[in-house]
């Protein structure tokens, strides 16, 4: 019988929780319900369980493009419910499910140690440590959508084990993990292909000014790396446009996939500057029409963004308005702009085979995107986001027909705690 990774994780997590429940008697035995930012149940020193809810409703207007299905105006982008907390004092856990996804509802399902910050261990299903923006919660994004690079070139979630920690007054943070497959940002076929092998990932982030109280205290920079075995087949890295249509050809690959990434973030007061660079290399051994080896296929993405909280709050992962709406204030208002690019190519010369998924030479294509946005944080729970997005897609150096000037408008209503 084929085992479901999330089911295995859930079973193990449940077993551990039951074992702990039996082994450690509650200190006082009382059950307490509190509500600070979210409902939290506390069972003595044994267990805490904070209920999480995330909802995002999008209104989108995408350009009409020939040969692509039309997109609905309304999109229930995210409806998640979860629970997080700690078990005795030594463990933290998180369980989250997407209610709109009946086939694979589980998102983060993991347990981790918490007492020794230099070396912690996490096990279960969670995001492979790669890409600052991919690792940022969907509720804390500065724009409606993640950058194309973070959305499609980062690996996403998988089942695995990770060691992580921080050292020297949090000047260094690291994550090193081994994962069962290649993450859920790969194609469906790869997710279920028995040939898929482990993916290894590592990420190191440095905050050189962390010990000092100056303007550069919040500056951080990092590098990340993944490597894993690719199952033979049409499992090349995927790339979509902003409206969600396929942009990269699904190339046939066989060999290893390697990712490298670089990132920086700086938050001087209400301003944030952030950027990333991601490159993915897929090997294509024996994937030619006549079974010959093909040159590696590459995908590359980067973005640079800047945001400014006009109402003056300190920029953090989760913005908390100093004067919430209907409590004597207008909430927090933030403006932002992002420039990004997603590209794919292979080395070599055009031999006339550029359009086949077994083509030796992959025609270089790129999607250049500008996004401008306004975020209005009513309070700790409600956020409205409006974005205007401009796309310009090129192939082999020239603008693709009808794709040089594409405008999208998106508006999001977000509620969460």
């Amino acid at each position: 019988m084929k085992s479901c990774p999330t089911r295995v994780v859930f079973t193990w997590a449940s077993a551990i929780a039951i074992a702990l429940w039996g082994a450690v008697p509650p200190a006082h035995g009382q059950v307490k319900l509190t509500f600070d930012k979210r409902p939290v149940i506390e069972v003595g020193n044994l267990l805490t369980a904070g209920i999480r809810f995330k909802s995002q409703v999008d209104f989108r207007e995408f350009p009409d493009e020939p040969d692509t299905p039309s997109k609905p105006l309304l999109d229930l982008h995210r409806t998640r419910i979860g629970v997080e907390g700690r078990v005795i004092k030594e463990f933290e856990y998180q369980i989250e499910a997407e209610l709109a996804d009946s086939s694979e509802p589980w998102r983060d399902v993991y347990i981790q140690t918490r007492s020794f910050r230099l070396l912690q261990v996490r096990a279960g299903q969670f995001k492979i440590p790669f890409s600052l923006e991919q690792l940022t919660s969907g509720m804390d994004l500065d724009f409606n959508y993640r950058s194309l690079a973070a959305a499609f070139l980062a690996p996403g979630r998988d089942v695995g084990v990770m060691m992580f920690g921080r050292a020297i007054n949090e000047a260094f943070r690291y994550q090193v993990g081994a994962f069962r497959r290649g993450g859920d940002n790969v194609r469906e076929s790869e997710r279920t292909d028995a040939q898929a092998d482990r993916t290894y990932a590592a990420r190191l982030v440095v905050r050189p000014g962390n010990a000092f109280d100056n303007l550069f205290r919040t500056f951080s920079a990092g590098v990340a790396f993944t490597t894993g075995v690719l199952p033979a087949g049409p499992n090349g890295v995927r790339g979509h446009t902003v409206p969600g249509d396929a942009f990269f050809q699904h190339l046939y690959v066989d060999g290893h996939r390697r990712r490298i990434g670089g990132e920086f973030q700086w938050r001087p007061g209400p301003v944030q500057l952030q950027g990333e660079y991601i490159e993915v290399r897929d090997q294509r051994f024996g994937q030619g029409i006549d079974n010959e080896d093909l040159p590696n296929a590459y995908a590359r993405g980067w973005y640079a963004s800047g945001t400014w909280l006009l109402t003056g709050e300190q920029k953090r992962d989760s913005v908390e308005p100093a004067r919430p709406l209907l409590r004597g204030g207008i909430g927090a208002i933030e403006i932002g702009v992002r420039r990004e690019r997603l590209a794919a190519w292979s080395p070599g010369a055009n031999d006339g085979s550029f359009s086949s998924p077994r083509a030796p030479w992959v025609m270089p294509i790129a999607d250049d995107v500008w996004t401008g946005g306004v975020n209005w944080y009513w309070n700790d729970y409600v956020k409205l986001q409006a974005n205007v997005i401009h796309e310009r897609r090129t192939g082999n150096g020239g603008v693709m027909a009808g794709q040089g000037d594409l405008w999208s408008e998106t508006f999001r209503v977000q509620l969460g705690f």
Binding site: T68, Q249, I289
Partner: protein, 408 residues
């Protein structure tokens, strides 16, 4: 003035050049599909994909392939297994799509080519002979010719196939001079037995039965309201007034001719086959309500005769709403019988069909004997050909006799 002359000269030269290229491509294509010779076709395909095509033959997954013919290699094509009842993993039929990966790419003018393994036809020639009759009778029908198929980097011989031009935009351009109308492939659903009966107003009923091959992304209303209107008209039209009620909506004479050809050739899986409508495309002309039917896959003609199936030439006319109205109205019945006689004259005149059948047999015999993937014993191949030739000998006289018995 001089610059204008130069411009005109350049334009003329360009026109001649483009025209020349088109004519050369057409000449090339003719020599592949006219059936005068047994051509060799080489599918360059990755070994793993070739294996997958056979292992996962029930799927419609496309795999990249190059197609080589007479030393000319067309790259970036896509190949998948095709067929419904004849689908198999031993000697699958294929569809080759030339513009799946490269927009606008053609194979000497063809958007797509079908390679039929003739899985249900031991003679391998019934579809080609039927299509020949359709075309000679003025019905737009695909051309069919046999090829020896080679596959893989090692150029392995994988058997005799019937290469058929598919009903796509390039077919429409060549036959109707336009390709921007609405083209649908009819899908016969299991146990459906549908013969133009009115299924009611729900457009969703038509969706699984008529697959759009052009305008695929248009709304269900745009795609299917005209078909629903056509079906309702067929049902509501009194038999005596069929022509005027369907005028501008359906090429009625074309349908009558198709029915006559299919019943002449004892086609058991066509418009009035035993399982309801099957094996046709419907094309609605651009900017008009007028539709025509285009025959497809006539592999069950002639061969049915081998099993003793020798239906009268008005077989099953009562199982189909439109055919029934044609048959029951004297003036349309007369047209139908006249079309039957016309087919009989065509088949027997100058021994056209017999000559074609004998030539096809001689052309493919050696290649079939060398075909390790042929699903039929060689004796059955020989017997099927003998039966078809016998059918061609006797059928015209039988049909004339049937018609005479009705009109006396």
């Amino acid at each position: 003035m001089a610059s204008r002359t130069a411009l005109v000269t350049i334009l003329l030269a360009a026109t001649c050049l483009l025209g020349g290229v088109h004519l050369r491509a057409q000449a090339h294509l003719d020599s592949l599909l006219d059936g005068n010779s047994l051509e060799d076709l080489w599918i360059h395909v990755n070994a793993r994909d070739w294996e997958d095509l056979h292992t996962h033959f029930q799927e419609n997954t496309y795999y990249p392939a190059d197609v080589e013919w007479r030393g000319i290699r067309v790259r970036n094509a896509a190949i998948r297994v095709r067929g419904v009842a004849s689908r198999n993993g031993h000697k699958p039929s294929f569809r080759i799509d030339f513009n799946r990966y490269v927009t606008g790419q053609t194979f000497f003018g063809l958007d797509a080519l079908t390679l039929d393994s003739s899985w249900q036809d031991p003679s391998m020639i019934t579809n080609r002979l039927s299509m020949l009759i359709f075309r000679r009778m003025g019905i737009a029908a695909p051309r069919v010719a046999h090829v020896r198929l080679f596959a893989g980097a090692g150029r392995d011989y994988v058997g005799v196939y019937a290469a058929t031009e598919e009903v796509t935009e390039s077919f429409l351009r060549a036959r109707f001079g336009e390709d921007t109308g609405y083209l649908y492939e009819f899908n016969h659903l299991k146990d459906d037995n549908w013969g133009f009966q009115d299924p009611g107003p729900r457009l969703g009923w038509y969706v699984p039965r008529f697959s759009p091959k052009t305008h695929e992304f248009e709304s269900v209303a745009n795609l299917y309201m005209p078909i629903r209107d056509l079906v309702q008209r067929i049902n509501e039209a009194p038999p005596s007034d069929l022509e005027s009620r369907l005028g501008g909506y359906l090429d009625l004479n074309g349908v009558i001719t198709m029915l006559a050809i299919q019943n002449f050739t004892a086609q058991s899986d066509g418009l009035v086959g035993g399982v309801g409508l099957n094996n046709f495309y419907l094309y609605r002309f651009v900017g008009k309500n007028l539709s025509v039917l285009i025959p497809w896959d006539q592999g069950n003609s002639f061969g049915s005769f081998e099993s003793g199936f020798n239906p009268p030439p008005w077989w099953n006319m009562d199982t189909n709403v439109l055919a029934s109205k044609i048959w029951n109205e004297p003036k349309y019945r007369a047209r139908y019988l006249a079309a039957l006689l016309q087919v009989a004259d065509l088949v027997s005149g100058d021994a056209l069909l017999l000559t074609e059948a004998q030539r096809d047999y001689q052309q493919i015999r050696e290649a079939v004997y060398a075909d390790a993937f042929s699903p039929y014993p060689l004796a059955q191949f020989e017997r099927a050909h003998a039966t078809i030739q016998q059918f061609i000998h006797t059928r015209p006289a039988e049909v004339r006799q049937f018609v005479a018995s009705l009109t006396q």
